[in-house]
């Protein structure tokens, strides 16, 4: 199978006095799709941000292809090119057109030829259903469209691994679907992805492994089947119950109320 692409060993992170990540261990292989789930504030987004050193870690080590990801490291910019990240708030650059948004980093950072990058960008835009929008500004696009542009922008740097931080949390249901479809097709292509999400059915469909975090610790690390059908810990069972609703207004209850039974 070869060496894992990304290794996270004994990672701890604190915000001041509070420990937000405790002794995190994770190995991600090429082509794997990992989904991180858990209650709010459990540290899933923080973990993602530590992977590309947007947050410094206080203990342990994160290595991409053997090279340590260090907030103060000299090679940080080069490493970040290999890690693509998509944010919940899209974070497109409002003063640039869609095409300019996508071309900026490949041209300035990777110093590639404009024509080559442009063609690739147009092809990607077409694949996500946004051809014709390349000269629009972000403010003219819907949330789902913006997020798809953000994904294309991350892809255009040819990253080894893609990080998704609750990318559909701010979107309307139809737009959620547009974006999730793109992510599903990326997974099908064999991309290595780490996804933080609340969309449980999507998680089940896309993941190779699901990790459950609570209060900065990984409580479970299993296949989707195991996670949803046979969760090992009580906590996970509780968590999954949050997504199940029992009818308050069941037909039986209604009949009782009207005195028929």
């Amino acid at each position: 199978m070869g060496e894992p692409l990304l290794t996270i060993k004994n990672v701890t992170k604190c915000f001041g006095e509070t420990m937000v990540l405790e002794d995190i261990e994770l190995e991600v292989r090429q082509g794997e799709v990992i989904v991180l789930v858990g209650p709010s504030g459990c540290g899933k987004s923080t973990l993602l941000r530590c992977i590309n050193a947007l947050e410094p870690i206080q203990g342990g080590e994160i290595c991409l292809e053997g090279e340590a990801v260090d907030a103060k490291g000299k090679n940080l910019a080069a490493l970040r090119q290999k890690i693509g990240m998509v944010f919940q708030s899209y974070e497109l650059f409002p003063h640039l057109t869609v095409l300019e948004n996508i071309l900026l980093a490949p041209l300035k950072v990777q110093k590639r030829k404009k024509e080559e990058v442009r063609q690739e960008a147009m092809a990607l835009l077409d694949r996500v259903g946004l051809s014709g929008k390349e000269n629009s500004y972000p403010r003219q696009l819907s949330g789902g469209q913006k997020q798809r542009v953000a994904i294309v922008r991350a892809l255009s740097m040819h990253p080894e691994i893609l990080l998704f931080d609750e990318v559909t949390a701010a979107l309307d249901p139809e737009m959620v679907r547009e974006v999730l479809d793109v992510m599903l097709s990326l997974a099908a292509q064999g991309r290595t992805m780490i996804i933080v999400t609340h969309e449980m059915q999507f998680a089940r469909a896309v993941a190779d492994r699901i990790l459950f975090l609570e209060k900065g610790k990984i409580l479970e690390d299993t296949t989707p089947e195991e996670f949803f059908e046979r969760p090992k810990t009580e906590r996970v069972k509780q968590f999954l119950n949050m997504f199940a609703f029992h009818a308050v207004k069941s037909p039986k209850a209604a009949k009782e109320a009207s005195g028929e039974i």
């Binding site: 590309n52 947007l54 910019a77 080069a78 970040r80 090119q81 890690i83 693509g84 990240m85 944010f87 708030s89 899209y90 974070e91 497109l92 650059f93 409002p94 003063h95 900026l104 980093a105 300035k108 950072v109 990777q110 972000p138 403010r139 913006k146 922008r153 991350a154 740097m157």
Partner: protein, 208 residues
């Protein structure tokens, strides 16, 4: 007579404003990047220059400094005074422009592998400048208005000329009228330009 005076006002005003922009830029950068020692100096400078009138600053530079060996002619004094006062206002305008850019914009640019310099140059700065423009234009107008005090240090500007004419020739109505007209000529265009820029930016919007 008035034209020459007006020209002088505009010339010194523009140079002073230009210098204040440069000074303001440096100060804003120092504050934004929180450079250790300089940060305190800049903060002190801003408080000092914003809490004292331009007239007092001019008197100090023109009459006071020569006594310790620093002599300046009236015109230079005017420019320095304007730059000193204006620098702090410009610094505030630029700094709030820079800080209005959410840090997460910077983060998304960094995630693409851009260096800090590239992030500033291609992502933060263009947006910050657009956002600062209303405050910037307001400062320009304010500084241009402040040039009216130059007459106090015997600079032959518009106010000086007006005072002269009123004093010597008693042509009060005429000189006052011309005074108003000339200042309108200088200030109205700047003001209108400012409003236009502001309106254009509001339409451009800045949703992400």
């Amino acid at each position: 007579m008035y034209e020459k005076a007006a020209w002088l006002t505009v010339r010194i005003g523009l140079i002073g404003i230009f210098l204040s922009i440069i000074l303001g830029f440096f100060c804003a950068a120092i504050l934004y990047y929180k450079v250790p020692v300089l940060k305190r100096i800049v903060t002190a400078y801003i408080e000092l220059s914003r809490n004292t009138p331009l007239l007092v600053q001019l008197f100090f530079i023109y009459y006071g400094l020569p006594k310790v060996g620093i002599k300046t002619d009236a015109a230079t004094c005017g420019m320095i005074g304007l730059a000193f006062l204006g620098g702090s206002y410009m610094a505030e305008a630029f700094r709030s422009g820079l800080e209005a850019i959410d840090s997460i914009q910077t983060e998304s640019a960094l995630s693409l592998g851009m260096s800090k310099y590239q992030v500033m140059r291609y992502v933060v700065l263009p947006q910050a400048i657009s956002i600062s423009i209303p405050a910037f234009m307001a400062n320009v107008i304010f500084l241009m208005k402040e040039t009216s005090v130059f007459s106090a240090i015997s600079l032959m500007d518009l106010m000086f000329t007006a005072k002269d004419l009123i004093g010597l020739y008693y042509k009060t109505t005429e000189s006052l009228f011309l005074l108003v007209i000339f200042y309108l000529l200088i200030l109205l265009p700047i003001s209108i330009l400012g409003s236009l820029l502001e309106r254009r930016l509001r339409h451009a919007g800045f949703g992400s």
